[in-house]
Symmetry: D2
Subunit: 400 residues, 4 copies
């Protein structure tokens, strides 16, 4: 069992422990399975793992069949453990983007929409994609939603969507899409979310990017939406409220990234620590070299701080707050901390660290991407600074 | 009121709020008092401040007259706020080394010893010093207690102590001393603690060091113990158990440093943030420059993480653990984080930041020293690495 | 033309300029060639590029057909430019490990050995490998040559070698090998270098590692030497002098890594800078965000310092010194600086930075490995500290 | 003798060697002189030291009596060595702000102005001050010259100046002032420089700031210019050309800071290294702990890189360039590197490092201020980013 703390109810503790055991005993042996490709594991591998999770009642362990969701604090305990292997979140159905999409559908979807789109996701029989990011090369929305260029126009009982989307994780192979498009006027930039059944002839995958990470089934796609027609009752929530819903999805989805990658970094650190306690150089165990021992000590501190930030932010979300500032603080600090951890693990293990002989090399690559996905650190710092300014000008505390 | 969280009971919350108000309204105006010297505030200033704290019932707010102590988690809430001014811990009697000495006397002292030595400390009418560190130039114990060279020999009903001590905070002006000396044989290095009434002719202050910090009354002294005779009933606890008692004092004392300096860094950050929200350069508010805004965002994250580490370690101590590993992790990470915060505050404020026009410059100097006092970061990383090795070899988890 | 400085003679300046033009105009278009694999470019691609370099007289631009070598300072100017593409050093025959092997053969080989083994390398018609590193898992020499476990025993007119080697770059496909093996007694650890024609049945490639880098043809192999018989006249230099020759090869080889990767990081920075000067977010060019502009400013400073360190170390080698300390200082500081540069380039470019759409993503991976290859940073710091101690104890300067 | 390199002519090498010997043998013993105050050494101490330098022909070693100046590369060799003690630049008359003022007067002053204002400075019998910076609290020019608020108006044959200046180093006790004031119209912000004999009743020193540094005689003053009348022939250079002259002074003055503080950091590192090679902890020499040895190795690399940057920038200035970009790159990277060095020295020495027992503690404080003086790191990064943008948009190199 790991040394990760469990904060929360008995329910969370129990699920987390079972998830950890499942990942360690069942999932990890699949890490050398040849069906893992540079564009993520093949769906057949994912299906095989999910069948095993379903069998022991651990598939989608944080969401009930009725859409009920563990608290964020309980979710943290569970998702961290699911992340102990890059395959874990796929096996257990706690991976992005499905996890965030399930959350959003559970909050905003109508019963009909939930039956049609959410149920298969919870059952782990379908994957989904979230079509928000646009190619920045064309002036579209990179990290900046206000630059949204994809448009949706009303045409009788349906909507017609045109645009291009980039970095759409899992689009290839997805059965459900949530598409974000502009619906307001030129003066008032508004957006609406649409549910789409996939594959669809008007949703054309132009190419799958070659990316440094390789844990997401379907990879990251550039997608052309070419006159995509969506019936009006597939609007998710209200028309023109897309930005608000994006906020609802934002913090929990962001935080769930932190949870999963915390698990991955914890695992990398276990491997590096075991390595340093077994190998010798210059006449003594690696860990007895302060240069190595200090790196492992720094890892332990970084992992502890990251875990505390995750749990803190989870508690704030559980209190009902949107947690926009807090999840920015958590994403920015946790992704940077976990990258330092992964980088030190690689360094401690030397040549073995940059090889595929252990999962450490992949974890390093995944977490490098994590510093950019869901908003680069710099965008979060910018938001945090704006919040600080807002609060300071509101309070105008004395200088001394 | 500050944005610092309060975790703990209603009792802790209430005391913390009153302490914060007292520091902001009563203590901070004294920061420009000329009785602050480079060797710390003069005792007259401290007495004046304590009289005001006593008046409103806030003197020694974390310890009852009977020696009872708030939980560590409650103490964290209170001591962080006492640290919002470098004068705060002195005004409120929450400062080192008295705070740690009171804790130790409360745990180990006999009722007679408590009446004689502890009561005046709790009443804030006396100061104390802890005589452990020795001059490393002479091969004595710097951060390494096993090198203890001061000896105590039994002579009838009393003990006679010889040795030299260095960096003895507050020795000048102290009324009580706790002296650590070797009592074991050459083979078995043991130590005993002795209570000493000060001033005493055999406790000769050789000189007060000029140090970068300046908040401790009495400064830091080099002291010669020249045939100091102590009656046997002034042995604190059991003979030969000094190292064990040092461990008892260690974690709470270390953690209380983190609490107080967290308050100081929080204050520095308030000042720097207010500055950045008011001054302009190159045509816009400082905070609107990302270079500045990012530094303040990093401060907010560092302060948050430091606070979470402090509360986490406090909870572990409250659970009854010695918390040696956890307090090393907390001291090392918190002192480094708070230094980054203080350094950024100085940088944000430019020329004003390196001047005495605000308290930021002093906080920077104090926290620089804090990275060394109570064990330099490197010694803590070394202990943490040893603990990791011990735990890993005990558990021998698989590599993959 | 790049902004990289040229220090050195007119000869060096002219060759460097032609190399830069060749890489930019001829080599870079091949970066999207499908014959690049995760184990390095296929030999057919390398041969095609080399034919083009040979045609314009730029193949092996730093070594004459007679084995004469540019000065290190001139070499720096040339190799930095060859590195502007990961394919550049292969196209121009300035890549590791051939470059270091040519240097060593030019210094130590007999005329007969040079005719047989060196000439085809200079002509760019053969590749070579250097068999020194051993699997640390088996207690062999990782970064620590004194742990060498491969043995060579004299048997009449030949030697018989047994052992295992790991991380042997380019072993697959090499025509020449230089094998390092123990030849001294148990008391006196000595080593000898042997020249081997490859492929050879007793040199069995067990597997090619999957590594984070992908620029080296043949990848990095684990190799079993199973009774490899080498005629005595294929001993390189003198018997038992292998460690000394390793020192001769060491500094120039180490430095040539710095040169090539400096070119790669320079290129990544050009791409990231161009990107930041063209793309907008939140209403302004990326570079107009201080968060981005500062990263590019830091890149410029890091690249400048790295270049100065390389030229400084080159001058020291040109003066006839072995430069062991200086090349450790250069390798450790340059590899860390170039990694910071590559990491910032990725970050500036966001999603594009972690994708294969530009060469930045590969440069990031390559330079991550570079922090470990040829001695991890920590091993170099350890050597530097030992040199500092040696020099300080020899000089014993006063403390004040 | 130090391990610092000497680049340049035989002349530079010889002067540098004599300066180093003088500082080590004559100046350093004065470091414990009680006439050093927190506002800098008293003038009597400076005079005493200068008499000794004059005696051996080393006063103002980089400027001839005729105003001729060593090359910047030679100056680097000399000024680095003068900085080996914080008292060295004062003893040798190589300190700021006189050094920059002499440079400017030598370049721009008329023969009459030079005879009256420059000659006593070169002779070391007078000190000077440069009145440019203004209190940012009042919206004046902090690091941003375009915000200059002090005005000069023509009144017959003289000018009348009103304004407030802040952070005016050495104003107290100066005999010469160079005052920068606005002279252009509201549309065209221009400035003019004026020479002023001091003390002067209209130049009122309001207060001397308490700053973290303490090496500058006269400290840093806030000064009120209250109707200061200056004869027209005391205009330095041409009217309205003040900003251009500020640029002339800028890079050499900035660079000379780097030189002097490089010397100070080198000295701190010598002390820390000697300390680590003599003191033990946990059973071995401090330097044999990798945690300490690595810090000293990092210091050696940082000092080497800083020295190379200084010499590189000096060469660029010697080539006739204004070197605005290069001196920003050098100031930003060198000040940050030297601070890391000083910080590590403090840390290596533990309690001794934060005490005044060695000069390390002062060097740490001085270099902290150096990260702000002459433009904070962030302002330099901002300028560098603007230069990068300008060059990139001019060149528009291809992305790949």
């Amino acid at each position: 069992m790991s040394s990760m703390s469990v904060v929360g109810t008995q329910r969370g503790i129990e699920i987390a422990a079972r998830v950890e055991q499942f990942v360690r005993e069942v999932v990890i042996p699949y890490e050398s399975d040849p069906r893992r490709t540079s564009h993520g594991p093949e769906d057949a591998l994912v299906d095989e793992l999910r069948a095993k999770a379903r069998e022991v009642g651990l598939l989608t362990p944080h969401i009930g069949a009725d859409g009920s969701h563990l608290t964020q604090l309980e979710t943290a305990a569970v998702l961290k453990r699911s992340g102990l292997s890059p395959l874990g979140p796929l096996a257990l159905n706690t991976a992005a983007p499905d996890e965030g999409n399930m959350y959003l559908l559970g909050k905003i979807g109508t019963p009909q929409q939930q039956a049609r789109f959410l149920a298969p996701l919870i059952a782990g029989t379908a994957r989904s994609a979230f079509f928000m990011t646009e190619p920045s090369a064309e002036g579209g929305a990179g990290s900046d939603p206000s630059m949204l260029q994809t448009t949706a126009g009303r045409d009788g009982d349906s909507w017609v969507i045109h645009g291009r989307k980039a970095f759409i994780t899992g689009a290839a192979g997805a059965r459900t899409g949530i598409v974000m498009a502009r619906t307001g006027s030129a003066e008032a930039v508004k957006a609406t979310m649409f549910l789409v059944e996939l594959p669809h002839p008007a949703v054309r995958i132009e190419r799958i990017l070659d990316t440094i990470d390789s844990s997401m089934p379907g990879g990251h796609a550039v997608v052309c939406l070419d006159g995509l027609r969506v019936p009006h009752d597939h609007v998710l929530g209200e028309v023109d409220e897309g930005f608000r819903y994006a906020q609802v999805r934002l913090s929990p989805a962001r935080l769930s990234h932190c949870m999963r990658w915390h698990g991955a970094a914890t695992r990398a650190n276990e491997i590096a620590t075991a390595y340093a306690c077994r190998r010798k150089s210059f006449g003594k165990l690696l860990i007895d070299h302060e240069g190595v021992g200090f790196m492992l000590a720094e890892n332990l501190m970084d992992l502890q701080q990251a875990e505390l930030m995750i749990d803190w932010c989870a508690s704030i979300l559980d209190s009902g707050s949107l947690g926009t500032l807090e999840s920015s603080m958590t994403k920015a600090s946790v992704s940077d901390a976990l990258f330092r951890v992964a980088d030190r693990c690689v360094q401690v293990m030397g040549g073995t660290g940059v090889s595929g002989d252990t999962i450490v090399e992949q974890v390093f690559r995944e977490i490098r991407a994590f510093r950019i996905y869901d908003g680069p650190t710099e965008v979060h710092k910018w938001s945090i600074a704006k919040a600080i300014k807002r609060q300071t000008l509101a309070a105008t505390p004395g200088e001394r």
